[in-house]
């Protein structure tokens, strides 16, 4: 518990740093939100009086630090402010889109890690075989293909040519196959390569050779002794990948017309909707903070050295 408490405590300044960066960057960006939003609403340039009223109403005339303090206090209690555009609470806007994002993020994560682990392990234990070379080349290609190209290629093959999956939209399970595949395949290569190299490293360790020398079955050596340690860096990367998925994947959401948080965030950036931009950055930061915490806890479970270090520190 001491380890956990220390980890959580150490995340507080990280989170505050995220809030400050989010707030400062949004405010430093060129463009007056009052002008932009009123201009669009009125379809003509707003008058100085209209601009002033908007700024006053939204607290844009207050000093930077006053605005920041007010906003951070709200953010700590879940109040991320109100969208300039829609007039709805930012948290509500984000959480209403989160299910759509998770709908493709979770399958994508399963595709990505599942495929990567299987191929990575096979590649490592059959080093320099045809399967190993083929998977490495495939990984290299996979890593090099931008996700929007992959998305279009999948659409062309599975929708336009074969006609077995829809091009875009939501509604049935078929609709999230292509977005999930695009997202998942785009990250499979990096996790696969990491799994392979990490497992190869571990397979060369003394304790693995000792286990093999003791006559343990190869499967037991790999699964129980080698893989457990080899997975530690893989878990770190996979967790970050999941964090990325869960906070929105702009390109994939855009190409497939998927109404997730990523697309929403980018539209907000274009419109200088500061509360949403700031809220999104804090939301993203918070997700990654939580993901890192979970990774630390998994380390604790998987790696006895971390457990021992934690006990010594208490």
């Amino acid at each position: 518990m001491g380890f956990l408490a220390r980890r959580i405590a150490s995340l507080v300044p990280v989170w505050l740093g995220i809030t400050f960066v989010a707030f400062a960057l949004a405010n430093l960006a060129p463009g007056d939100p009052a002008e932009l939003i009123l201009g669009r609403e009125l379809e003509q340039p707003p008058t100085p009086e209209q601009l002033e009223a908007f700024r006053e109403e939204h607290g844009l005339n207050d000093p930077f630090l006053v605005q920041y303090a007010r906003w951070t206090a709200g953010a700590a209690t879940g109040d991320l402010g109100t969208s300039f555009r829609s007039g709805k609470p930012v948290l509500e806007e984000l959480t209403s889109r989160l299910p759509a994002t998770l709908q493709i993020a979770v399958p994508a994560f399963l595709v990505s890690t599942g495929l990567a682990l299987v191929v990575g392990i096979v590649s490592a234990i059959r080093r320099n075989s045809f399967a190993d070379h083929a998977s490495r080349v495939t990984a290299l290609v996979g890593d090099s293909v931008p996700s929007f190209v992959l998305a279009y290629l999948l659409i062309i093959v599975f929708s336009v040519t074969l006609g077995i999956l829809p091009v875009a939209g939501r509604g049935t399970w078929q609709h999230f196959v292509l977005p999930s595949l695009t997202l998942g395949l785009a990250t499979t290569a990096s996790i696969m390569r990491l799994t392979r190299s990490s497992l190869l490293d571990v397979l060369g360790e003394d304790y693995v050779r000792t286990a093999q020398a003791m006559g343990l079955p190869r499967r037991t050596v790999i699964v129980r002794h080698a893989l457990r340690n080899a997975l530690i860096p893989v878990i770190t990367v996979a967790a970050l990948v999941f964090g990325g998925f869960a906070t929105g994947t702009v390109i994939v959401e855009y190409v497939f017309g998927w109404p997730g948080v990523g697309r929403f965030a980018v539209d907000s950036i274009f419109d200088r909707d500061y509360p949403v931009i700031q809220g999104f950055v804090v939301f993203t930061g918070t997700v990654f903070v939580i993901v890192n915490l979970v990774v630390d806890l998994l380390y604790l479970r998987l790696d006895p050295r971390v457990r021992l270090a934690g006990r010594r520190a208490t």
Binding site: E41, G87, Y254, V266, T284
Partner: protein, 558 residues
């Protein structure tokens, strides 16, 4: 790849552009594959190769339209109040007067209208219209609607209406008095913003308003689709379709692939670059609307401090205009999906007076001569200079998150290349909406490449909005010819004109002054709005203003 999502977000604008441009190649590939795999049925012809005469309506009259992103879901509350009429017009609600494809005003719910007094318009309503709940159209509904547009968040800024503007005279008569002199009300009020609602309708909170149009909303799923069905009680010619589903597909290329796949029957705003790849596909046809949008450049003459920029010199402005080869732009860059224009608004809006605007003819030698005369001589690197300062012009344009009528980088690069031919260095800056607005408001640019749409019948709309020195925007001081000019005097007169023909003449004269004499705006091309659809989709009367597009004449043939 680890942080794909986060990285993707940071670089999104640039990647989106790439996505659009590369998407063209992808669509081409898809086109080839689809063609190779058989595709659809092909044009219907009789034995002699002649098109069959009258298409027979199919048993099922349902149309699926692939539209861009949901225009309301992430929109302001003011924009949400205009659901489902603007910017996507689902033909559910109607205005008092409507905009014809010729940019003229015609009666819609109003049978007549007249100016009574100095600034008051009286509308007489038709007897026939009823709302889709069966209740009759009344003057009270018109008052409710106009008051609704005025109530916060207001949507009616450009017509200068207020809470006291609308008065019910009797059941069929209503008077509207703008809050300040505005004789252009009739030309403006055909905008779908002023679509008449039944009292109590509130599209902001209920996406299924009670209206008088040929269709009625039956389902709206944000970010997914809007479904409308035929209003069986419609007072006019009934719609031919039973149902239209507008599916929101923001990505241009995906939308195009959805058409090729047969998931949608028709797509709007087809990207120009994709057109050539789908034009020849079996079972798909292309239809263009007349010009409703003009690609042009606004010319900044002075900066925020009032200091003259290089384009303050009329010779340099004219040299820039003369350097633009419109023909090459239309044919080479826009692939013929546009036409040459001399005006800064669709020529049609000026009626028979459009010829008054001659435009600066393309003449590179003349351009060079004018620059020489202005003292800009060619330097060792080919760029003209004066007093050791190179002639460099910044060209700004806004990023677009999709839509076939947005501006593509290649189009701006064409301008850059044309300028280079006469020794002017063009510095292109593609900006997101916020940064773009900031640059316009501070005058921090030389040329603003833009593509304004004409969505109402006021021929002086753009002139008074952008170049008029009394325009409310911050940008006007940088591009306006100035308060004591012939242009200004003519725009003043357009605001006072009471006769439509006179208005067109005055607007044409003002545009002539702006384009031919002041060279304050440089027209580049009149752009077509393009629809692509299955061969079985019939009867679309493509409107030059997409927000005034109607659907009741469309049907599906066998």
């Amino acid at each position: 790849m680890v942080h794909e999502a986060v990285r993707g977000l940071v670089v999104a604008p640039a990647r989106w552009r790439d996505t659009r441009r590369r998407g063209v190649a992808v669509a081409c590939l898809a086109g080839l594959l689809a063609a190779a795999c058989g595709g659809g049925g092909g044009d219907e012809e009789d034995a002699s190769g002649q098109p069959t005469a009258e298409p027979t309506p199919a048993a099922v009259q349902e149309l699926v339209v692939g539209y861009g992103g949901d225009p309301w879901v992430d929109a302001s509350e003011a924009d949400q109040k205009r659901k489902p009429s603007y910017p996507l017009n689902a033909d559910v609600c109607e205005t008092l007067v409507r905009l014809t494809p010729e940019f003229e005003v015609a009666g819609s719910l109003a049978s007549s209208w007249e100016l009574v007094g100095d600034n008051t318009f009286r509308f007489t309503l038709k007897d026939e219209p009823t709302f889709n709940d069966g209740s009759p159209l009344t003057a009270e509904a018109v008052k409710y609607t106009l008051d609704y547009t005025v109530a916060e968040p207001a949507t009616s800024g450009f017509a200068f209406l207020g809470t006291e503007s609308t008065k019910v005279i009797d059941d069929r008569t209503v008077e509207v008095t703008p809050t300040r002199p505005n004789l252009r009300l009739i030309e403006q009020i055909n905008h779908p913003t002023y679509s008449v609602l039944a009292p109590g309708s509130d599209p902001l909170n209920n996406p299924e308003p009670t209206c008088t149009g040929p269709f009625e909303v039956t389902e709206y799923v944000p970010n997914e689709q809007l479904v409308v069905e035929r209003n069986e009680e419609y007072w006019g010619e009934p719609a031919k379709l039973d149902k239209i589903t507008f599916r929101f597909i923001p990505d241009d290329t995906t939308r195009t692939l959805a058409l090729q796949n047969g998931e949608v029957d028709l797509i709007t705003d087809v990207p120009r670059g994709v057109l050539s790849s789908i034009e020849g596909l079996p079972g798909i046809k292309i239809e263009n609307a007349p010009v409703g949008q003009v690609f042009l450049m606004y010319v900044a003459r002075r900066d925020l401090a009032g200091t003259d920029k290089p384009l303050a010199d009329p010779n340099v402005r004219r040299a820039v205009a003369a350097a633009m080869d419109q023909s090459a732009f239309v044919e080479g860059v826009l692939d013929g999906n546009a036409e040459q224009v001399t005006t800064v608004a669709p020529p049609e809006v000026l009626g028979e007076h459009a010829d008054l605007v001659e435009g600066v003819p393309f003449d590179r030698a003349e351009s060079a001569r004018l620059l020489d005369e202005a003292g800009w001589t060619t330097g060792p690197d080919g760029v003209r200079q004066k007093d050791g300062r190179p002639l460099e012009l910044s060209i700004v344009f806004p990023s677009s998150s999709g839509g076939g009528t947005g501006i593509d980088l290649t189009e701006v690069e064409f301008v850059q290349a044309q300028l280079a031919e006469v020794g002017i260095r063009g510095k292109i800056e593609q900006l997101d909406a916020g940064a773009y607005r900031e640059r316009l408001d501070t005058g921090n640019y030389d040329l603003d490449f833009s593509g304004p749409n004409q969505n109402d019948a006021n021929p002086a709309f753009l002139l008074s909005l952008r170049w008029y020195s009394k325009a409310t925007g911050k940008n006007a001081p940088f591009i306006s010819p100035g308060p004591d000019t012939e242009f200004e005097r003519l725009v003043d007169q357009t605001l006072q004109a009471t006769d439509e023909e006179e208005l067109q003449r005055l607007a044409a004269e003002a545009m002539h002054e702006l384009v031919d004499n002041e060279v304050g705006g440089i027209p580049l091309a009149g752009v077509y709005r393009t629809y692509a659809m299955k061969d079985t989709v019939q009867g679309l009367e493509a409107h030059p203003s997409s927000t005034n597009q109607r659907w009741s004449s469309v049907f599906i043939s066998e």
